[in-house]
Symmetry: C2
Subunit: 199 residues, 2 copies
DNA sequence: AGCGTTGTTTACATCGGGATATACAAAGCT
DNA sequence: AGCTTTGTATATCCCGATGTAAACAACGCT
C-alpha cells in the first residue's frame, strides 16, 4: 500500500515520485504522527499507524527519530511551540480568544492532541504542564480580584482555561464557522462562567 | 507487599486476614481497577498495576475476568450504570446538576475514567457513546427553542454537556466543597454559556 | 474434622510491537 | 557517469505484558 507510490518495480509511466529532502520529510512525518496520535494517544498508536499515515515504511521513521517516545516528544514540542507563538503565555485580554482560535485552526490535530491526550498521559504531562499551569495561574491572578481565595477560586481558576479550550474544540467540531463570531461567543461564555464563580 | 497481608509463611500473631467471598472480591477488584485505570487509561495501565492496587496477585484477576479488556468493560459498565441510575438520561431540569454532583462524589474515579479516558479510547467509546450522545441530544432539543439550527446550535449542544462535566471534575479537584453552592454555580455557569450561544 | 473456597508463589507459554541490521533500488545532484 | 541520499523489503532480536498451569497454604463453612 505504501509501496505503490514509489515502487521498487520501476514500472514505466509511474508518477514523478518527487522525493523529499530530509528536513521536509521530517516535517511531513511530524504532520502524519500528529494526526495518528490525535486519534488515540501515545500508547494506543503503533509506529505502523504513523508510518501508514505518512505513506512510508516503519524503518524510515528511525532515520529521523531515535525512538517512539522521541518522536512523540518532537510532535508535542512542535505543537506546544506553535501554540505558544500564536497565543502568548500570559494573555488574558480580549485578543487571547481570537489567538486561541487561530492556533487551533492552524493546527487542529496538534490542538486536540495536546489537550485531549497528552494532558492525560502521566509520562508526557511535563510537556503540557507548562502551558496548563501558566494559563491556570493567569486565570487565578485575574480572578483573585473578584473571588475571595478558597476552594471556589481554585475551582474557577481550573475551570476557565478548560472551558476555553473545550469551547474551541467544539468550534472545530462544528466546522470552524466564522472565527469572529466564535471569539465573541466564547468570550461571553467565559464571562458567564466568571460571573457564576462570584457567589 | 501484597503477600505480607495474607502471608503463606503462617507467622503467628498475624492479622485476622478476613477473606472475601467471590462477589465481594469482584467488587473490590472493580474498585481498584477503576482507580488504577483512572490514572492513565486502558493501554497505559498494566494488570500488575491493577493487582497491586487491589492488594492481590495478578493471577487472581483471571479467576474473575476473562481478559484485561473484559475487566475494563466491566469497570466501564458499572461506572455507566451507577451514573445513569443517579442521573437520568434525559434530565435537563434544575435537579440534573445536583444529581451529577452526587454521582461524581459517589464514584469520582469512575466519573473521571468515563469522561477523561474512556471517551477518548476508540476501542471502548461505544460504551460511553450512549451517554454522551444522549446528553448532547437532550441539550440540542432544549437549545433548539433558543438557537436557530446550524453550526452554532451544534456548537452549543456539544459544548454544554462538556462544560457540565468539566465543571463537576473541577469541583472534585477543588476538594468537593459545599454541593449546594456547587450546583448553583455550575447551573449559572451553564446559563452563561447558553446566553452566549444565542448570538 | 474435612472439604471447598480463596489465595499465594513460581514458572512458563505466547504474542505484539519496538528496535536493529542488511541488502537492494531508484532519485537526483555534481 | 558516479556518488550520495532517500526509500523499500525482509529478517531478526528483544522485551514487556498478557495469559496459563500447577503445586501449595490457610480460611471458613458444615
Amino acid at each position: 500500500m505504501a509501496g505503490e507510490r514509489a515502487s521498487a518495480t520501476g514500472d514505466p509511466g509511474a508518477a514523478p515520485v518527487r522525493r523529499m529532502r530530509r528536513a521536509e520529510r521530517r516535517e511531513q512525518i511530524l504532520d502524519a504522527a500528529t494526526r495518528a496520535f490525535a486519534r488515540a494517544g501515545y500508547a494506543a498508536t503503533g509506529l505502523d499507524d504513523v508510518a501508514a499515515e505518512a505513506g512510508i515504511t516503519r524503518v524510515i521513521l528511525y532515520r529521523h527519530f531515535e525512538s517512539k517516545a522521541d518522536m512523540y516528544r518532537a510532535v508535542l514540542d512542535r505543537a506546544c511551540l506553535r501554540l505558544i507563538e500564536t497565543v502568548g503565555v500570559d494573555d488574558f485580554d480580549e485578543n487571547a480568544i481570537p489567538a486561541l482560535l487561530r492556533a487551533a485552526a492552524a493546527d487542529p490535530d496538534g490542538f486536540r492532541l495536546l489537550f485531549h491526550h497528552a494532558a492525560r498521559e502521566p509520562e508526557f504531562r511535563e510537556l503540557t504542564d507548562s502551558i496548563t499551569a501558566a494559563s491556570r495561574d493567569t486565570a487565578r491572578r485575574n480572578l483573585a480580584k473578584l473571588i475571595p481565595s478558597g476552594p471556589w477560586l481554585d475551582w474557577a481558576a481550573e475551570l476557565i482555561p478548560t472551558v476555553s479550550v473545550e469551547a474551541v474544540i467544539a468550534w472545530l467540531d462544528a466546522g470552524t464557522p466564522d472565527p469572529a463570531t466564535a471569539a465573541d461567543r466564547i468570550s461571553r461564555a467565559i464571562d458567564g462562567v466568571i460571573r457564576a464563580a462570584r457567589s
